[in-house]
Symmetry: C2
Subunit: 204 residues, 2 copies
């Protein structure tokens, strides 16, 4: 089925919009639109408005650039958090992933991307100046680089290290090692090599 | 990642709405919402409005019950179509599939479903009365049953036959046979049996 002609312009518009989303093809878009047509008017109104409001009313925390409903996000405005510890991440998905571990009690700094010459993203496109300002101000004890273990992540780590090394904060990265649940024989040699070199005292 | 806590209520609402669509899980919903956040405000406004307008302004053709922007759909209002030939289909997807073949020049009748006792759908839930009215009026020469070759489709075919047989129209169904591109050895025996019985003169 090519769905070359839609019986209604309204239908065609809605399908086109859904099909413009990443990973959604025209057939899936059509199926989603048909499922919306089966709902009552109020539900669909709420759906549409949730999208419009999200984009028009969303704010970003002025301290860490995380998504927020207020000027400061819930993490930055939480007095029990350790403000001298900053975890640098690529995007808000990473904030949520680390928050879900419930292991981290410091603050975050969302770069809004990662240095990637292939995609035309350089340091100036990321929130690096505001990170340097925080470190320069002197109240930061430690910066954790929590970026992807890809070439882009390593490049960004290196760039951040060069920029922030002259200040007084400790610069750390996430531990690299064998993932929990992984079988040794299927672990890639780079990871396994690092895991051997960074071995820890055995704890019962 | 469980995404148990979202940093923003607006974000959470939008993700919930997308995740309510069939086949869209929470992770996909989140990814779609994040892609919308990267667009500019006007684009997202247009997206949301296309959904709201679709539901609030959509109409159904008063003759064939196909989706339409006007009282009569483009097919029913096309004077070159043969109004004495009616193809009965389950839904508008089927109309579009048959239209894409460019082989059919009659009109349609969209039942809006198929008789399915398991799903609690009986004849009264479908647009069968209006189909009978058309046939009763006497101007219909042939009714083509173009329903799925499932038990529900067969049940609906049988019910329609019982209701419409007393009128003057010819009742036909789509040809059953080996699909084009199918290999004989993988064709199911029911289809192959029908294809042998309904064989046609060879055409060069």
């Amino acid at each position: 089925m090519s769905f070359s002609e839609y019986p209604s312009k309204l239908l065609e518009n809605a399908v086109n919009e859904f099909a413009s989303l990443p990973g959604i093809g025209r057939k899936t878009a059509f199926r989603l639109v048909m499922s919306l047509l089966k709902r009552n008017n109020d539900e669909v109104q709420r759906f549409g408005e949730s999208i419009i409001r999200l984009r028009s009313e969303i704010r970003y925390c002025r301290n860490c650039h995380n998504i927020s409903d207020n000027e400061l996000c819930t993490i930055c405005s939480d007095g029990k958090r350790d403000g001298s510890l900053i975890c640098v991440v690529e995007n808000i998905q990473d904030v949520m992933a680390i928050e879900n571990t419930r292991q981290y009690k410091g603050l975050y700094h969302v770069l809004g991307g990662i240095i990637s010459p292939v995609d035309g993203i350089g340091p100036a496109d990321l929130k690096i100046d505001s990170l340097e300002e925080k470190v320069k101000a002197g109240s930061v004890r430690e910066i954790i680089f929590a970026l992807s273990t890809t070439m882009e992540g390593d490049t960004t780590n290196f760039y951040l290290y060069k920029r922030l090394n002259k200040y007084n904060a400790l610069l750390t990265t996430l531990a690299r090692g064998v993932a929990i649940g992984d079988e040794l024989e299927y672990t890639d040699e780079l990871t396994l090599g690092r895991a051997i070199n960074n071995r820890n005292p055995y704890q019962q």
